[in-house]
Symmetry: C2
Subunit: 423 residues, 2 copies
């Protein structure tokens, strides 16, 4: 069996450059002129499917599109009917997207098959290009990966987009049969799921590291909080007789920042604020804000939210204001699979890089797949932490390291006694 070590640095670099060029090619398939936007089963998703099919043809790998619009392509293992490892990411994008979020994970899965150079492993490899992860068209994310875990249900199929087209109709309009959705679900022959994804944050760049292994997907709380005071004339109301909801809200925004800074790895964000009546010469009587809190530990996260709500109430009480709040989201952290994490770490070590574990602050398809099968992720350093933007990028050297790590990982898994005994 050929090993990864046999690939020259020059060959790795060529494959990395080709992978980046392929991402840029996929980015040219768009609903919008001059920028990239590919929402669920929009016409450019079909262009992606056709392009990826062309890449896989020389390998003799056939492509199918499942009932949820996911691209599925199986590279068989040494024995017919053996277990297979899923590798992939999503093919949809946000509006005005970059070229690498999602696409890179699918492209690297193809690159790994090519780099195997005809080698067969004890397990098969299934490339997955999920049809929907970003939640743009229907306001709900993970439509593609939900189908693989059997959660693309009737309620979700009835959701409508801005033009009144349902998920079901979108599937039919693409030429697919919603009745086939149950066949998209994972059967018992899935060994696990591996996803390469850009970090979409500044951490690896700050640390000077090209890659990380994702040990869990952070839990998330979102709340909406309102400060209520009295709207009054900005000229005639002395400072000591004000009930200024915006001054109270500002004090709380500072408290949110302080709290998050004081707890390791906690992030807390007030991203949305609406002050009423919102006039230059009127003291705000009502301010509505959102809070987004994330952490790998659910207890830490929920305690932080509780504390911040208490602080809001205390600030309000001191100022003669009142508060109202409601939870918008309370999503538990999803741990990645320890066996896969360890295998990825060994692969990173073999490639000569040092190991770094990260909690993903963003949600990913791996989080959904983890409901049914072992899953973990590689993060690639994201210059400037910039994503969801045409300026999104990834360094060719880092992609080369990801390819080497991916091949080491396949070798790791192929030689793993625990996997061999499941074959």
């Amino acid at each position: 069996m050929a090993t990864t070590a046999q690939m020259t640095e020059a060959a790795v670099r060529r494959r990395a450059e080709e992978a980046l060029a392929r991402c840029r090619k996929l980015a040219s398939f768009s609903e919008d002129q001059g920028s990239t936007r590919r929402t669920f089963l929009s016409p450019p998703i079909r262009d992606c499917h056709l392009e990826i099919t062309r890449w896989l043809e020389p390998l003799g790998v056939a492509v199918r599109v499942d009932g949820a619009g996911n691209l599925r392509a199986i590279y068989p293992g040494t024995r017919p009917g053996a277990l297979h490892l899923l590798i992939g990411s999503h093919l949809d994008t946000v509006p005005n997207a970059g070229a690498y979020d999602g696409a890179l994970g699918v492209v690297l899965a193809v690159t790994l098959l090519e780099a195997l150079d005809g080698r067969r492993l004890p397990f098969g490899i299934e490339i997955v290009g999920f049809s929907e992860e970003e939640g743009v068209r229907f306001g709900v994310p993970f439509i593609g990966s939900r189908a693989l875990v059997g959660r693309l249900d009737e309620e979700l199929l009835r959701l409508e987009d801005g033009r009144g087209i349902s998920v079901r109709e979108a599937i039919e309009d693409f030429g697919l049969n919603p009745a086939e959705i149950p066949r998209a679900a994972l059967s018992g022959d899935a060994l696990g799921y591996i996803e390469f994804h850009i970090e979409q944050g500044p951490v690896l760049e700050e640390l000077g590291r090209p890659l990380a292994v994702v040990e869990s997907i952070a839990g998330q709380s979102r709340i909406e909080l309102t400060f209520l005071g009295h709207s009054n004339h900005a000229g005639t109301t002395p400072m000591n007789l004000r009930y200024d909801a915006l001054a109270g809200a500002a004090e709380w925004i500072a408290a949110v920042e302080n709290k998050a800074r004081s707890v390791t790895d906690l992030v807390a964000t007030v991203g949305k604020i609406d002050a009423k009546p919102g006039a230059t010469n009127v003291i705000a009587g009502e301010v509505r804000l959102t809070l987004d809190v994330r952490h790998g530990g659910d207890e830490i996260r929920t305690q932080a939210v509780k504390n911040l709500v208490s602080q809001a109430q205390a600030i309000a009480a001191r100022r003669g204001l009142t508060t109202r709040w409601k939870a918008l989201l309370d999503q538990r952290a999803v741990p990645m699979d320890p066996f896969l994490i360890a295998a990825i770490e060994r692969a990173i070590t073999k490639s000569g890089a040092s190991v770094h574990r990260m909690v993903s602050g963003a949600g990913h398809d791996a989080m959904i797949l983890a409901e049914k099968i072992p899953a973990s992720m590689f993060f690639l350093r994201t210059p400037g932490g910039v994503s969801h933007d045409p300026a999104e990028s990834v360094a060719v050297d880092d992609v080369g390291k990801a390819i080497k790590c991916g091949l080491h990982l396949l070798d790791e898994l192929a030689s793993s006694p625990s996997i061999r005994e499941r074959m």
Copy 2:
């Protein structure tokens, strides 16, 4: 000559009750059903003119409407052609208005004439009901009083409302002739201007006083300030790698509040805030806010604005943000006339109340008239500081005290040597 002291408390109360009933009657004249809204020369302004004409008929006082739509009615003095004192306020309102802002000042002028009970003073009294003070219809306030100081010019006449109707057309549509506007201007026979107005703030209520004399109208600065950071993913960007424009803005809002609290009589307000992109899960990259600063002293006000802009720049620098700002308004304080202030104070003392001087945080027609003639104002305690709201109110006892003070003031002026020598 009959004197004020001869009015019984019961008679004062009857007049006060009648004044309040008249305000409520005027409030029933509205562009909107179920709430009060009277913008510049809208049909209900004519209803007000007709109603006030009916009140003045028994006194033999004729009403005219000048070229700018102001109601003008002269109660002659003992000698024909003598100087006259203007007493009045505005007849227009904001949308969803209360019954007393503006209207009370016109109604009390009528009440004072009635309370004179046929007495003539050495000077005439001209009642003025300004056609426009609030700035609602054309976005520019004081259209009525500007005409009296000769500042209702061509540029203002060309301004258009939301339906594309110009000030000039509105005047014509009301059946008036814009060519008559110059004749609305004050001639040399105006002695001064007195305005009764609700305080529109909580100060007198807090002090437990029914009335105040206005010693100046505060100067006003308005600026728009923008904090610029980097919009980033709320989940993937650690706290120490953020450039959160909203966190910076919140720190500045606290600084604005602290600054105003630390300087006597300074008020500073951030009433409007807009955070972009304004999503729950995205760190704000840009926040635009307004600042409104007012004080009776121009130096104190402009220094405060300068200091707050510097503080914004310092906060931004410390956080890796930048700022932009622009001035929206820089209006000097307008002192009221010292002779009239002193006369009002003597009148208040005579009525048995204690004297309180105030700076008006809001603009008033008296501020415009002060450009040409001596002017000052009485403020009436405003329950809860509530104005520009249907819940706006004023106590019948306080209106009674205002009537008594107004009559004492007329006596004061009538017996003043300096006024007598101008007759």
